[in-house]
Amino acid sequence: MKIAVLTGGGDVPGLNPCIKAVVNRAVRQGHEVIGVRRGWGGLLHFNRDDPESFDKNFIKLDNQVVRTIDRTGGTFLHTSRTHPGKVRAKNVPPFLRDPDHPQAEEEDTRLRDFTPHVLANLEHLGIERLIPIGGDDTLSYGERLHSEGFPVIAIPKTMDNDVYGTDYCIGFSTAVTRSVLFINQLRTSTGSHERIAVVELFGRNSGETSLISAYLSGVDRAIISEVPFDPEKLAELVLEDKRTNPSNYAMVTISEGAHMVGGKVVEYGEQDAYGHRKLGGIGEITGEALKKITGQNIINQRVGYLMRSGAPDALDLMVAMNYAHLAMDLIENEVSGRMVALRDGTYTHIPMSTVTSGVKRVDVDELYDKKAYRPKIRHVLGKPMFLY
């Protein structure tokens, strides 16, 4: 059988080991594996009439090709946020353009659906199973292909851990590991200058990275996307934290998607194919507010891309490889249309349609103290490893 694998959306550590585990297992069982390059981009940009097009968009994977890839983060297949069901005129590959209007117009905002082209490409290449590894956006197009009748097994990844239906997405653990490391490294600067540090973390509209990193690094306060905050209240709390710290400093983590009471989420740049803009900047705004209210100096730092930099930690290796094997187990059992998942601490799989049926957010009542702006961890007995 011919299996294709691809990675879409933001890169995270753990993608490469996942690809490697899929390939080694598949090859051992006599299957062939093709890597699709640049997320869904490879399937959109493949021109069946151009003999050079294959190498630009695909790579045949075997044990040798994947031998060393698991040592690094990111994805060696490259990635993109391409959505073949919603392609803007300017992003349509030249060979798919209307011959009467070959020049895409910048202001043409119509979205075109190239799903028939993608399905024809899959058939042309003899691909029988598809394993997309991605976040909810990438996987939503996987669900589309599934609904068109193509057998798909999805693997969830995001450093934000916000794919609905699974407790865990590849990349989250390394993001937390890095955040804790950098937060603790910032302590010496913050302490030396007796300041208040505001550390902004990626996480989009989920506060999980801020919550768990704050919990594990023991910072004084955590602001999360789910709970709008009052800067006056926060200022009061951190001033007290600073006063009671013998080194006379305080630290706050803040989700990039957080906002003040009555305020808005800070976005910038243009919309991507999935309709999302970039988040970020709330840390700086909060830092300025705190400076104004408290008169204290602030250290502002975005950990940003550094959260997903470097090689995967142990847990992301573990989950990435186990998800790969779970996906191959399903293929072996002729099951498709499923997303592999962790639920209640156990490996399982769920219908792919689950991904788009809800949004995953921090369970605020269970894990967050809305008055004290910090994690509230109680009743651990029976909880899964990551608390939910």
Partner: protein
Amino acid sequence: MANIQKSKGVIGILTGGGDVPGLNPAIRAVTIRAIREGYTVIGLRRGWAGITELVRDSKADNSLNYQVLTEEVVNKAGRTGGTFLHSSRTRPSHMRKDDIPEHLRNAYHDEINDLTPEVIKNLEFLGIEHLIPIGGDDTLSYGVRLYQEGVRVVAIPKTMDNDVPGTDYCIGFSTCVTRTIQMTNSLRTSAGSHERFLVLEVFGRYAGFTAMLPTMAGAANRCVIPEHKFDVELLTQLLAEDRFKNPSRYSVVLVSEGATFAGGEMVFKEAELDAYGHAKLGGIGDMVSAKLKELSPKYNNGKRINVINQKLGYLVRGGDPDAIDSIVPMAYGNLALDLILNKIDGRLVVLKNGRYDNVPITVVTNTKKFVNVKEFYNTERLRPYYKSFEMKPLMIMTSEG
């Protein structure tokens, strides 16, 4: 302070300006050696602030202004980054009205006040005969002032920017380079996965060493530095070429926070000046990123190249010191004690052309230290020259010859 009278003398030590890894090892080295030689060591807290705000009354609580240092205290702190004495940018000769300590408000009420007479009386009150300030050129410039007033001063240079004149090396620079290389390399996976330009803004103020050394060490394809106003069109072209040649389709540029476009001005983040008259730099990385995105289609068959833009910021000086910043502070601390034991003062301990040495402390106010563009920076390729290494000291471009 009963035991102070019995000692050979009292040495005061302080750390001023931005924190760097290596300050605590320097305090540790000074303290341990001094105690062994029979001195008492007083740690003056918060840069020049502690000695300025001291209340000369034996019953007053001066715990925020100084502490007597013991081996136990410095051993515990000696392995960590930052400074356990805390730091500040206080400049006693230029104190704003609002910053005058409560108990001196009657005596000093101008808009800007010189509190040097108080500082000198405070040093006498504590019995401090030798003063070891550890700092960058700003902090040490006030050391020069005190030396000119007759205080015995031996200074130790630190800055992650490595821009103190008179020395090849300032404590903190190596860790900064180490962190920059490490973080740049670990961001390669993200840049490669998305086939983007990686733009990293690094601290460094008006000197480009923090961008030059990591680039030379292979962390980046190109770097732009404050010493040379760069053509962003040329940078885009070079980075597009680098990216095209790289099988993983990405390229990396380090941007000094003080870098400027040809025809542009430095980008300041805050209009407010500190006590030494400096504004906070920063923001050029965002501007370079926007420009690269805008100009890239011209060098990439009409297609835009996206950017991963990250300020390394405070993270380059976070954490514990690396090997060089554990060794040099130890040597500088002992070098300072050697001078004190030989009754020499008014000196800055340094590394000069690769060797430990000392120079007149006044060097810090007389000159400025920058990258020698002519010798070390290729303005056509926007990266260091890779030639003439023979007989260059360890850090290659940081000696003034």
